[in-house]
Subunit: 255 residues, 2 copies
């Protein structure tokens, strides 16, 4: 990665769909993967509750294959937890003492696919949610690289909640830290965030995904996932596996 | 096409990039192709000035091959008119008496590619711009079909100006004519249009495409293309060729 940028040299961009990621130059870039409802929110919670690592996998069969290695297994499709798994995609299913010290294999409709799209394309991939918004932005500012927010969307289609979080990151990095942007998706996201930030839950009342989740009676999940700054966790991808960045860094220091 | 919908059964959706069009069900749908700066604006102007027909083609070589058939030929790449062509992509290059009665072959960076993406996917394809906004919406309302706004974007990336026009169409069809939408791109476009509509030119000051066009000194083009309701023209695709819908209908009546 190229280093020694001044803050003003750094750019922030937003990609609305994993299907569009190849339009972006990610050579010198940290990719923030976003799947607000609910994969990247739940991943942050899992590390808050002491998960050792999380392996994002594409298929339910692949997730189940990790059980024999002693992993907990999580799977969600179309919003619902699948039978035979230890957890689904609800952040509350990760708020459990059984998580501490455990390795988890996880597959979800959108989020894990976006992580897969990101991992071969950028030197560093981290996980964003409203829950870790400020912690993540502070860390991004302290790095020396451009930033691309990759919205998971819904089966490659644009969605509102992911673009709102991208907009919150854009707003903070541009307004407070002088990042620049020549990316229309970033500008659109920033505008959408600024008109919604006083009541994101209300703003999303008519969004396709909130309607989709309504039938599942998980309003509590949605409210929690849209609440900024609950956690000081930054999940980071190393190889094919997500770790709690703070734990990784502590291990490196004590070696 | 399925017919006899009540207005409330009809949906409006927005696709932010030709690369995402296959995510949409276009079976019973009119596609509105949008390339505000400047292809679809110029196409509307050409018909206002009496063009007989316009053939959108993919390559400059293909466009030139039409010259021997007596066509005028237009070509733009990266914002600039190419040497050896009769016109580029500026609406003002089509405001000319020489256009009347002529057939035109046209290739542009984004707009003609979006028309090509649309034509095999929907039973009816029409051309949208701010210039023909109200005429187009009135016509869409009088039809019996769903609507998909296809934004040409910039080389498949999201752009602001196309999404603002899409938002203007969504706003009118939903607010005034009870179309419904379960499409987050449509909702985002509608929000962006509503916060920008008092000064679209100013809102786009920092957009990537306005910056791109600045070096070409075509602010006059941009201002004109962002001015709603200058023309009562609806260009419509029949086979591979665009016609002025009013002229087509008149010809059908007088047969």
């Amino acid at each position: 990665m190229v280093t020694n940028h001044s803050p003003k040299d750094r750019t922030i961009e937003v990609c609305f769909s994993p299907a569009l990621i190849d339009l972006f130059d990610t050579t010198d870039t940290i990719i923030v993967v976003i799947d607000v409802l609910r994969a990247t929110s739940s991943i942050c919670v899992a590390f808050e509750y002491g998960a050792k690592c999380i392996v994002p996998v594409a298929t339910t069969a692949e997730a189940l294959s990790y059980r024999s290695k002693g992993y907990l297994v999580g799977a969600e499709r179309n919003g619902e937890m699948l039978e035979g798994f230890d957890m689904g995609n609800s952040p509350f299913s990760f708020m459990d003492e059984k998580i501490a010290g455990q390795s988890i294999a996880l597959t979800t409709t959108n989020g894990t696919q976006a992580i897969t799209a990101a991992k071969t394309r950028a030197p560093q991939v981290v996980i964003g949610s409203f829950l870790n918004l400020n912690a993540l932005c502070d860390w991004l500012v302290a790095q020396d690289h451009n930033v691309l927010c990759l919205c998971s969307g819904w089966k490659n289609a644009f969605n509102l909640e992911d673009s709102l979080l991208a907009g919150a990151i854009v707003e903070r990095l541009i307004s407070e830290f002088s990042f620049s942007s020549n990316c229309d998706s970033a500008m659109a996201s920033q505008h959408l965030y600024n008109i919604s930030k006083k009541d994101i839950f209300g703003f999303l009342a008519n969004s396709s995904h909130r309607k989709r989740l309504e039938r599942l009676h998980i309003e509590k999940d949605v409210e929690y996932c849209l609440t900024p700054n609950q956690l000081n966790i930054i999940p980071v991808l190393k190889g094919d596996t997500l770790y709690n960045m703070a734990v990784l860094e502590e291990a490196a220091t004590t070696k």
